[in-house]
């Protein structure tokens, strides 16, 4: 527990000092406010002759706006999470920083848990900023208030998927001495995974990206049972973080 506490403190300090957390908060703030802003002000910038076509393409309904948020988070948001986590273990391993730590009476797995917890906290905070800013901007720019319950459920489902991304990216980061390879592996994995829901049936219901679709529908006001996806994603998160522990415990430095 002592190792975990010491590593966690270091990770949190590093997230702030290296500007990782502030930058992530700004990116997610932008993702949160961009959809309501875009739907509110873009039509005013469109030339009058294109207005009719444009309004058919971009209807400023709550469903469309919240779908745009979901799309941004599931694409740019996930990419940002991968970028910020791909070097978490590999960079420290590649530079030899872990040597001086693991020659002490520490637990290697506590480093992995500390990285996972600190990254998860950063990601949850960033997602919260995105959802809260979305809600506030939507409420301020459009006549009706956004449905809070749908947004909260959407936030929870997105959060779980984001933790799954963090877990897999940390795992891939333990496999390489370069963050670039870890990023490529994570990127390819999630790109492949994102096609699964389109196969329908069990893939849509059980695969982790199915959660994002469910979140989108829930935020749009539909009732969706996503418990299967929740269970699979939570289990996957745990499995990858445990695998990361196994890899780092066996790693020769």
């Amino acid at each position: 527990m002592k190792s975990l506490r010491v590593f966690l403190k270091k990770e949190m300090k590093e997230a702030i000092r290296s500007w990782r957390l502030p930058v992530m908060l700004i990116v997610f703030l932008f993702l949160g406010i961009s959809s309501p802003l875009l739907f509110k002000f873009l039509p005013a910038l469109v030339p009058p002759e294109l207005k009719a076509t444009f309004e058919q393409l971009m209807k400023p309904t709550y469903e469309e706006i919240v779908s745009s948020l979901a799309k941004n988070l599931s694409q740019i948001g996930i990419l940002v999470i991968i970028l910020f986590n791909m070097g978490s273990v590999s960079e420290e391993r590649g530079k030899g920083q872990l040597e001086l730590l693991f020659a002490r009476p520490t637990s290697r797995s506590s480093l992995i848990w500390a990285k996972f917890l600190s990254s998860s906290l950063s990601v949850l905070l960033s997602l919260a900023v995105a959802f809260v800013s979305f809600g506030l901007y939507y409420g301020a720019l459009f006549p009706q208030a956004p449905p809070v319950q749908g947004l909260v459920l959407g936030f929870l489902l997105f959060s779980l998927f984001a933790l799954f991304v963090v877990s897999f990216t940390i795992f891939s980061s333990t496999l390489f001495s370069s963050g670039l390879w870890a990023g490529l592996l994570s990127g390819s994995f999630f790109l492949t995974l994102s096609f699964l829901p389109s196969l329908g049936g069990g893939f849509s219901r059980y695969s982790p990206p199915g959660l994002l679709e469910a979140a989108n529908l829930i935020m749009r006001g539909q009732v969706v049972n996503s418990w299967d996806g929740v269970l699979v994603t939570a289990t996957g998160t745990l499995i990858f973080i445990l695998l990361a522990n196994v890899v780092i415990e066996r790693a020769e430095l």
């Binding site: 001086l100 020659a103 637990s107 430095l253």
Partner: protein, 311 residues
């Protein structure tokens, strides 16, 4: 005799390459032990195995009697380690880094703060406020020494500790290491033989993963003594040269200015015969010195013998 380090048939393979071949080390508590060898001899591998950073292919190792493989954290409790190219978190200051790594020890916060300030002073980084990313190589090496000492270790494992230091830094480092004698066991690898000669009590010579010698420097000197004698006289004398060349106990004679360098067959006999000869010829003998081989000469000879003994 208490042992700080003991390895039993320690072997490490990287794929098909044998990096360490049945190494049996015995390092006495309180000694300063040097691990010598050319590049690729297995020095870094040995140190990394002892720290638990790598696992052996076979064999056992003990630190103060604790099995490194069975109880790694217990074995590492009293260990300080410095890698050859130490790397730190660049965003931290030296003080923050020492407080961070010291937090893994059992010291109280107050003790750790006091220890940190003492070590920063010891390595002359107490006035440096900038982050480590701006440090020179020498400053990093000095911080490396401080972090290895932060937990008051009983055993220090240093991998080429002086390689990045300038002559003054090296001198200070060796003095620091020397001052630890008796209290802390120091196990250092180096290819700078003069450094080992200066601080080590005992050395181990490794080549291609095999231990070629392990003994005190003084006994190595005795074993590899080359029977060289240097004589200094004020006047040259042909008769002296002739009689030395004819003497059955002299193997070789070389003139070096006013000095004569002899290689003798029996050092004991030479010590009796030389003063007698000078006395008989009525010549002044300003200096007679039995020259001890340097560690470098011993090292090269050990490697040479190993090469010659290969089938």
């Amino acid at each position: 005799m208490n042992l700080a380090i003991e390895t039993v048939e320690l072997t490490k393979r990287y794929g098909t390459r044998l990096a360490l071949d049945r190494l049996n080390l015995r390092v006495e508590e309180g000694s300063i032990f040097g691990l010598l060898g050319p590049n690729g001899a297995g020095k870094t591998t040995t140190i990394k195995l002892l720290t638990g950073l790598r696992r052996p292919t076979s064999g056992k190792m003990f630190l103060f009697g604790d099995d490194v493989l069975a109880r790694p954290n217990q074995a590492r409790k009293d260990l300080g380690y410095l890698s050859e190219h130490p790397s730190f978190y660049g965003w931290m200051t030296a003080r923050e880094y020492l407080l961070f790594v010291g937090s893994f020890s059992s010291m109280s916060r107050k003790e750790l703060r006091m220890r940190t300030e003492y070590l920063l002073g010891l390595v002359t980084l107490h006035r440096v406020r900038e982050p480590i990313r701006n440090f020179s190589r020498g400053m990093r090496q000095r911080l490396g020494i401080a972090q290895a000492l932060v937990n008051n270790p009983k055993l220090l494992l240093l991998d080429e500790p002086a390689s990045a230091l300038d002559p003054l830094g090296r001198k200070e480092l060796l003095e620091t290491i020397g001052s630890l004698r008796g209290g802390v066991t120091v196990f250092l690898s180096t290819h700078i033989l003069a450094d080992a000669e200066r601080v080590c009590d005992t050395v181990c010579i490794l080549n291609q993963g095999r231990m070629l010698a392990q003994e005190t420097i003084s006994s190595l000197r005795k074993r590899y003594a080359r029977r060289n004698v240097e004589l200094e006289t004020t006047s040259e004398n042909e008769e002296l040269l002739l009689r030395l060349r004819r003497a059955d106990w002299v193997e070789d004679l070389k003139r070096d200015g006013g000095n004569l360098n002899l290689t003798v067959k029996d050092i004991g006999r030479a010590e009796i015969e030389i003063p007698r000869l000078f006395s008989e010829l009525g010549l002044p003998l300003k200096k007679i010195e039995v020259k001890e081989p340097t560690l470098e000469e011993i090292f090269l000879e050990v490697l040479d013998r190993e090469e010659n003994e290969k089938p």
